[in-house]
Symmetry: C2
Subunit: 205 residues, 2 copies
DNA sequence: CAACTTATGTCAGTCCATGACAGATGACAA
DNA sequence: TTGTCATCTGTCATGGACTGACATAAGTTG
């Protein structure tokens, strides 16, 4: 990796970290791009060459998460029940975060804390997740050989699994302490969902 | 109702209708506040005295929807199973739209069509719905006498019901023809969800 | 070192959104 | 009807997010 690319990555992370800290310190709305760029020693214009928008700072990793989720889902064996396959994909995302560097994990958790404080950001994040949901529905429908426009079951499978994940992620009035606690809550929500559902409910027929 | 209030309501609707038509015609992002205000023969500044933002035009009715949903939920008999209670609340919202004036229904459907075309708006709407979901969770937890911070079941009940509603609302690659079709799809999604769930799954114990 | 590619800063400009203020317009009582 | 008051509206000024254009600086490559 050349000097140029290393510099770029450094600037990207400097902007990211400066922004997250400023957001948590003085609030998301009250922090200006100028401040963020200033903290990272670049111009405002340069900021927009790294991030398409202010939100992109907080929600940017969703693209990566979506890719992991969909890729994992595509690689699950076709005979696996669809709900189990989607849950496996959700677990793959969690594992990815757990296995990343401590710095990246910290950024992830800071982002989560930010969303807990800011309904507008939380809304954006959930809305973005819903987009991923749609793509997952198409994939589930494909592997089950059904048409998502007439068959609502694939939607239900994905929506139920995503609900479990979202419930695990929620931590109103709590600190987002560490990844382990988060993973445990997601696992517990998935287990609860499974207890609520009829055996074989997700198989077409 | 005095002349002043009638005028205000007229301006509000003029802005609303001008905006919805412009959005559908030439796209949401490309339509400026100035154009909308111009179409309704008011200044841009006045626009912001009726709507807090551009998004508010499309998502403003969510406040009303949320109120109906939560009020209905609160009035359901305590002995009613929670999932059924939440579904009743969702039905109350649909009925409210069905029973409104043809103009209001048309505005509602235009808004839906707009969201289908614009992922950003759809995301915002779903994110807003998630906020309502949280409040509904608190209410369900209250009537079941459980603490939503430790008991994930109320979350699951609400999330599953909301999922059914959302699936019914989705109409990718389809026209949002009329309210009846929409209601039917929601009913069908709720029925499917019920077939997938174990009897008595939503009762604490 | 020279030619090329790519990143950066500066500048100008658009759009969304908000505060301040003055003038216009209904509401209402005498 | 008229005068007073509350409220609505337009104009103006401002700030912050974001984008395009262009010149300059810095890394890359032969």
């Amino acid at each position: 990796m050349g000097l140029r690319e290393r510099k770029k990555e450094k600037t990207r992370l400097a902007l990211m970290d400066a922004a997250l800290d400023l957001f948590l310190e003085q609030g998301y709305e009250t922090t200006t791009i100028e401040q963020i760029a200033g903290s990272a020693d670049v111009s405002s214009r340069t900021f927009f060459r790294y991030f398409t928008s202010k939100e992109h700072l907080v929600l940017g990793h969703h693209d990566e998460i979506q890719a992991i989720l969909l890729d994992t889902l595509r690689l699950r064996p076709p005979e696996e029940p669809p709900f189990q396959a989607v849950c496996a994909a959700l677990r793959a995302v969690l594992r990815e975060v757990e296995q990343s560097t401590p710095e990246d994990r910290e950024r992830f958790l800071k982002g989560r804390r930010l969303m807990e404080d800011n309904p507008m950001l939380m809304g954006k994040a959930i809305g973005r997740m819903a987009e991923t949901e749609r793509l997952a529905v198409d994939e589930v429908a494909r592997r089950q050989g059904s048409d998502p426009r007439v068959d609502q079951l694939p939607h239900l499978v994905v929506a139920f699994a995503m609900s479990a994940m979202r419930i695990g992620y929620e931590c109103e009035h709590r600190d987002v302490a560490d990844m382990r606690e988060l993973t445990e809550r997601v696992e517990s929500a998935i287990a609860l969902a499974e207890r609520c559902l009829r055996p074989g409910w997700d198989l077409t027929g």
